[in-house]
Structures are given as structure tokens and as C-alpha cells.
């Protein structure tokens, strides 16, 4: 380390390890050239000129193909709310949804959600052994629905702002994993979509998960209502 950079450099050159040193210098030289050239193009004046020639539609694109236009038909969102499971209490539910908009009216939506449930009044009153273990008490569901948007229009917030809104219905089927078994579930609901921006929407949704429960004495069809608030982005 007692040698200075230049004496080391000279000694290296003379000692014949020139190639590495030359490659190093070439590298540095090229770097400075590139840095310099990008420095030139970063100059606002010349950049503007360049931009304008590139952006001239007469030169860049002649005919318009549909694939040149970005599509925004998918929507992904998360939601949270309350799910009432018949006999098993009302609890928080969280989930995610993927939507594909086929037309301005119709869409497909797939959802997955999870919710814990509580002990039934029977379990609490009888002080007996619980009906379900901890794993079985957690409910999860998935469903695939067809949706139909009705009453699209604008909502006015204050006097100068208008937002696009729509009311929609969904109907579909899926499965609910609850009480240790998988249950075929019919799913129906209604929602209100508020588009804060073109690509950002807020949703208020109410839906019914209909499935058969055989956990208490006899098999019955249970209506399980869910009320949720969600947020989604279009892409």
C-alpha cells in the first residue's frame, strides 16, 4: 500500500500486465463517452427536438391496430366486511376478487374469502363439548359469478365533481369450506360501484351465500348474508 497509484500504474505497464490496465482504461474511456453522450441527450433543448420528431404520428405509426390501444378489462380488488353464518355468529370477513369485464353490461367475477365463526348458542347453553374444533370453525369460500351492471350513471359530490357509478347484480356458484366439510354454495348479491378514478373503484356489496348445513340435528338450507366494502383497480 506504500506505492502510489501512478507508480503502481507505471510499474504494472512496464511489468507487462499491460493488457489488464489497458482494458481498464478502455472501460473508463467508454464509460466517460457514454456518460457524456447521455449527458447530451439529457439536455432539455435537444431532448424536446428529438421527442417531437419521434412523436410525429406521420412517421411513427401509419395505421391503427387495436392491439396498439391498451385494454383495461380486468379488475382486481380486496374487500372486507361482515359475514353472518347462520347459528355461528356474525364475524369479519376478508377476501379478494378478480373480475373480467366482457361487455359494458356483463362481467365474470371470481372471489375467495375467509372468516372465523363463533360457538352456537346451543354450545354455549348446554356447556357441552364443542361441535367443531378450531380448524373447522374457520370458514373459507370461493365462487364464480356472472355479473350484470344496471343503472350506470353519475353521482355528484359537491357541485363541481361527478363520478361514474353503477349498480350491479351477481349470481353464481362455488364451494364453502366449513365445519370440516365442503359445501356447494349458491351465491347471489347486489353491489354499488363508485369509480373514484378511471382505474380505481370502491364497492359496497351485499350478498347471500346459500348452502346446506348438517351440523345441528337436521340438514337445513342456510342463508348467510355478507356485507362488504372493497377497493379495486382496473388493468
Amino acid at each position: 500500500m506504500e506505492d502510489g497509484f501512478w507508480s503502481l500504474f507505471l510499474r504494472r505497464c512496464l511489468a507487462g500486465s499491460c493488457i489488464r490496465v489497458i482494458s481498464l482504461l478502455t472501460g473508463l474511456a467508454l464509460t466517460s463517452v457514454f456518460l457524456f453522450s447521455s449527458g447530451v441527450s439529457a439536455n432539455p433543448g435537444s431532448m424536446d427536438k428529438e421527442r417531437f420528431t419521434v412523436l410525429d404520428p406521420e412517421i411513427v405509426r401509419e395505421d391503427l391496430e387495436e392491439s396498439d390501444i391498451g385494454k383495461n378489462d380486468f379488475e382486481f380488488g380486496i374487500y372486507g366486511g361482515l359475514l353472518s353464518v347462520e347459528d355461528f355468529g356474525v364475524n369479519t370477513v376478508i377476501g379478494a376478487a378478480l373480475t373480467y369485464h366482457v361487455t359494458e353490461d356483463f362481467f365474470f367475477v371470481a372471489q375467495y374469502g375467509q372468516s372465523p365463526t363463533e360457538a352456537t348458542s346451543y354450545e354455549l347453553l348446554s356447556l357441552g363439548s364443542p361441535l367443531l374444533n378450531d380448524d373447522e370453525r374457520d370458514l373459507s369460500y370461493y365462487n364464480i359469478n356472472i355479473g350484470y351492471r344496471i343503472l350506470p350513471g353519475e353521482a355528484f359530490v359537491g357541485s363541481g365533481r361527478a363520478f361514474n357509478v353503477a349498480l350491479y347484480f351477481i349470481l353464481g356458484a362455488g364451494n364453502t369450506e366449513f365445519g370440516g366439510d365442503s359445501r356447494f354454495t349458491i351465491n347471489a348479491g347486489v353491489g354499488y360501484q363508485f369509480l373514484a378514478l378511471d382505474w380505481l373503484s370502491l364497492k359496497l356489496e351485499c350478498r347471500d351465500h346459500i348452502f346446506d348445513v348438517d351440523l345441528l340435528a337436521e340438514t337445513k338450507t342456510a342463508h348467510n348474508l355478507e356485507f362488504s366494502l372493497g377497493m379495486s383497480v382496473f388493468f
Binding site: T31, D63, L64, D68, I69, F184
Partner: protein, 259 residues
Amino acid sequence: MKKGLSQRLTALALMWIIVAIIPERADAKNPFARKPKPIVTVASPPFIEMRTGPGRGYPLFYIVERGEKVEVLKEKTEWFKVRNVKGTTGWVSRENLAKTLSAAGNLVALQRFGLANFEKMKWELGVLGGDFGGAPLVSGLLAYRYAKNLSVEFTANQASGNLSNNIFASVSILNQPFPNWRVSPYFTLGMGKIVTKLNKTLVQSPDRDNELLLAGIGARTYITKRFVFRVEYRNYVALTNQTENDEIEEWKMGFGVFF
């Protein structure tokens, strides 16, 4: 130590070079770089209509006159978001945009969905419901048509009944003898895998896991835009290790979207 230093310096120099090159290339070659938006000119009809949202229910608020240029920003279902020179943005319908001229002076070539597209479909994505050996069925499908009459189809299914919960998947080859008919019948042959779980309320027993063979018959019907309606019957044979194989009948119907 000294040798290491020069190596490190060379590496550093190379990194500088790469870093210096990247922004240069980004403009020219990088596919993720922002492309200029296409510009179209309003021509043959004296005007096109702008709405506040992508749907016929949203109010009409602006008229773009003949000769005016608009920039096409994006597409949402059947609607296109455009911006004029003054910066006014709104949504125009597919029909309206198809009447404008591209920079080359030709009518904008937009795909029109109809029966012709149904006959030429490549991909289909669908959701079906029905009955699988007495249990209610939910089924999702993805099909790819690789020849005029032939498609390969993948399905993922769940049928949970009172006795058992069946999760199964299948791959099949679908033959469509008359692809040009509006109601197009097909035959399907394939195989799959099924996992059967007996319900908890019954006797505890381990999950069963079997191979499936399947044959089916069905029909696709074009409805409108990108939609098709499907009805299908399938006969499955589950290859069990018992003396007899299980035979399961399935029927289902539902909707598909094609591309």
C-alpha cells in the same frame, strides 16, 4: 489485493457502461417504454360523441367535430377513452371510433364481434354448473383451438354432495365437426384425476385418489359479442383398485367467453 483492485475497477467500469447504455436503449427498444398514443381524425360522420364513462348509460357531454384529431388513450370493454387537442377527455363507442381515420388516412380497423369471430375462436374461458353423479358441480374450463376442428380443453371441477366432496381435473381433446354452425356440436375424449373425500358426518375414511377416463358430447352456441353458451354430457370411468371401476355421469351447462 492489488490484482483484486484492478478487477474490481474493471467490473465497476463495466457497470458504469451498462448503466450508461440502459437509458439510451430504453427509448428505442425497451418494450415497456411508453409508446406514443395513436391519433385519429374524425371524418365521414360530421361528429362523434363523447360520454363521461364507458357505457351507453353515461351522459353525453361533448361532440368532436369533423376534422378534429383525438388521441386514443385506452380501451375498456367496447369503449375507448380519447383526448382532444384542448385536453377534453371522454369515452367514445366502438362504432364511433371505427368511423374515424388513422394517421395513414384509412378507416380505423377495429374488430367487430360477431358470428365470424365465433367461427375463428382460438381461446375459450368458461364457467359451468351442473350435476356430477348426484352432487352439484362447479366447473371452470380453458380451451385452446389448434386446428379447425380440434381443441384441447382443460377443466378444474368441484362437486360437493351430501356424502362426499370430489375435486377433479381433466384434459381432453375436443372435436367439432361443424365449426361453422351457429350451434356447433362436439365430441370429447380425455383423462383426468379425481380426489374424493367422504364427508365428516359419515364414517371417517381416508381420501381416495383415482385416475379418470372420459368421453363426452356437447354443443356450443354463439349468443352475442364474445359470449357462448355450452351444454355438455360426460361419462367418466374412475379407475379404482376394487373389483369394479366406478362409472360417473356428469351433465353441465354454462357460459364461455372467447378470444
